[in-house]
Symmetry: C2
Subunit: 100 residues, 2 copies
């Protein structure tokens, strides 16, 4: 399995992020082909003291790296990528890696 991990920094407008993410972005993301499993959480806590460095975490699993790249090259994938600036005002980190 191959995983996409999306780490969102605290946005300028957390309430807007939450609403937009759930009502608009996730429905768009659900159209991406080849997603085997996906989940997200706004309840991200640090291990130890202080504040979580991330406001929201999203993960999606694909069959392979090639399947993920193909998904993001699709019309649906491009729409999802293009939608991110509409809510992620704090910045976002996206990485991907094989899951054993």
């Amino acid at each position: 399995m191959y995983r996409l991990l999306v780490l969102y920094n605290e946005p300028k407008d957390p309430a807007h992020f939450r609403k937009y993410y759930v009502e608009t972005h996730l429905p768009l993301a659900s159209k991406i082909p080849g997603v085997k499993k996906a989940s997200y959480s706004f309840d991200v806590k640090p291990m130890g003291p202080g504040k979580s460095p991330y406001f929201c975490v999203f993960e999606a699993d694909f069959e392979s790296e090639a399947a993920m790249m193909s998904a993001f090259g699709s019309k649906e994938g491009q729409a999802v990528a293009g939608d991110v600036p509409n809510y992620a005002s704090g910045g976002v980190t996206m990485v991907h890696f094989p899951v054993g």
Copy 2:
């Protein structure tokens, strides 16, 4: 399910990290009680241009947040936490969150 996500920055000595992590740290981590599933990758790529912000990603799933906290409070969990400075010379980010 409840997930621990460990994000390692590039260490000062990547070769030492890799060797120590696989030969010493992961065997210690495998003794932590209550881990339902765990995986790691050194093959972390950024989505887009540039270099990955993380050198290594580790994830472990527990039944619940309480199970995870109990695991890290155990003798085995404390040994694992205490071992991290032995290889993670670039710093580490640890967060946890529910997985839907």
